[in-house]
């Protein structure tokens, strides 16, 4: 029996569908546990990705890792789960380690593969410079899946949704306020990302970056110095000390490609680099490169994308 914990407080994210698809590849009996207010009508579709049943706790809001851990561990015991799957996102990173202690179950954090014949699972180590094969020695196993490691697959039909309330106890953390940017594509989940660095010269030049992102339906990101000097908000900073992302497409504009920047983006499937300097280190990590001035190239690229999108309609 496999239990998947899914956060549905902002609706069902792609990461949630990925974890259910992943679980389905490990076994046929997949129970999904979630919490909060998501309607039962929205949750039944998890069956399409492989869930045999969805359990929802309406009393737990998901803000306190300690409370979530109590809930998940009670459900693991109730259904006799031998494997527990999380997304390796902000909630998974806080809750999976707690659950590991509570159940004395080994945790594979940031998995990028399903277990091989020996039960070893691949994870990124050394900021993506190497891959490690990890094994768990305990009876129960916990795996947190790195977002964008597999594609969600529809294999089944709607499944039943049941309520399970009162297993979490009280929350110790009190939420005072929440700020969420409206309508933006969230960087950690984005499949397409347009990113720019110091080569852009100043914050007033980001209009063309935003236009390109908009025509692609991409999220925007930036290098660290750009966030540090306040040209862009901190949550856009990618790299070793910022957000680590692995989109399908990463377009890097006016970024030199320092190793600390690459550490956060080298999991991207395809990398395009636009830089005036043909010797910029980023070209070594790129699939496609344009040696040219961003101020010429980016408006041209945006026009080409728009033309392509129109031809697709």
């Amino acid at each position: 029996m496999i239990l998947v914990y899914v956060n549905s407080s902002n609706g069902l994210s792609k990461a949630a569908l990925e974890t259910v698809t992943y679980a389905k590849k490990l076994g046929n009996e997949v129970v999904v546990l979630t919490n909060g207010k998501a309607s039962s009508e929205s949750l039944i579709c998890l069956g399409e990705y492989g869930a045999t049943k969805v359990l929802v706790d309406r009393m737990v809001d998901g803000e306190d890792p300690q409370q979530l851990t109590r809930l998940i561990s009670a459900v693991v015991q109730n259904i006799g789960a031998k494997t527990v799957i999380f997304s390796h996102d902000l909630i998974g990173k806080a809750v999976a380690p707690r659950l590991s202690v509570r159940l004395q179950a080994g945790l594979i954090a940031g998995a990028i593969s399903i277990p091989d014949a020996d039960g070893a699972v691949k994870v990124n180590v050394f900021s993506g410079k190497a891959i490690g094969n990890v094994k768990v020695s305990s009876d129960i196993k916990i795996i947190s899946l790195l977002p964008n490691s597999i594609q969600p697959e529809k294999t089944g039909a709607n499944c039943p949704v049941e309520e399970t309330n009162g297993l979490g106890g009280a929350a110790a953390i009190k939420v005072i306020s929440t700020k969420k940017p409206e309508g933006e594509i969230l960087l950690p989940e984005a499949e397409l990302v347009v990113s720019a660095g110091r080569g852009l010269k100043g914050p007033e030049n980001w209009g063309m970056i935003e236009n390109l992102a908009k025509s692609l339906g991409a999220a925007t990101a930036c290098s660290r110095p750009v966030a540090d000097i306040g040209w862009r908000p901190h949550h856009e900073h990618v790299g070793q000390t910022g957000v680590a992302i692995r989109p399908n497409l990463y377009i890097a504009i006016g970024i030199s490609g320092a190793i600390q920047h690459l550490a956060g983006v080298n999991g991207s499937k395809v990398i395009v680099v636009v830089n005036t300097d043909a010797e910029a280190p980023f070209f070594k990590a790129a699939d496609y490169g344009v040696v040219g001035d961003a101020f010429d190239v980016i408006p041209k690229l945006t026009a080409a994308i728009n033309k392509f999108k129109e031809s697709q309609n």
Binding site: Q66, S100, S127, P188, V297
Partner: protein, 246 residues
Amino acid sequence: MKILVCISKAPDTTSKIAFTEGNTKFDENGIQYIINPYDEWYALVRALEIKEAGNADVTIITVGSAADEAIMRKALAIGADNAIRIDADPKDAYFTAVQIANYAKTNAFDLILTGKETINYNGSQVAGMIAEILDFPLISQASKLDINGSSLSLEREIIGGLQVVEVAMPAVVSCAKGMAEQRIPNMRGIMAARTKPLTVLPPVTADELTSFVSYSVPNSKSAVKLIDPMNMDELVELLHNEAKVI
């Protein structure tokens, strides 16, 4: 109040990563170790700011070998009051967390700070594990931390945004960017660090729950395909038909 800061070592970010013994061991040859950046820049410096603003005692703890005392001395030079080294190889996150929690249990800390993750194993595991062993609340990836009497007021990242939260001490907090600014140790700090206490304690027994059985280095990318800057239609065509990402 008493603050415990968990300090781990990490290879300098420019290190070349290689493996030995049939790809089962990290090759430490020529590796320069630094303090894991999140532990140093954010957790440690914020603890020192709290100390400077009031009345706190800052202890650092490292689970590691005698070789790690170099980075511990640096943490003392930046301003920590005393240091504890648990003399053991930090085999996995659980083993490490048991050592730290065990020390914390006997010393009544109000606040335990860690980095958000180590940059070598990138697991984000140890903080949550310490919190669960001690039955403390965990605020992970906090970007702001203030003391309010016996409570903490924090800002933390949540999926797609930021949240302000409050929690009573004792608590475990994992620290991310925004928490504090990096500090460079000065000569006086370096001199003082030489005489600050660094206590070595034996480990307690704990099971390992996970193990790395082997490593590999990803295949290097094939050479970049250069596109004429005047021909962005070609780039779009390649992204659509060849790379299949748009």
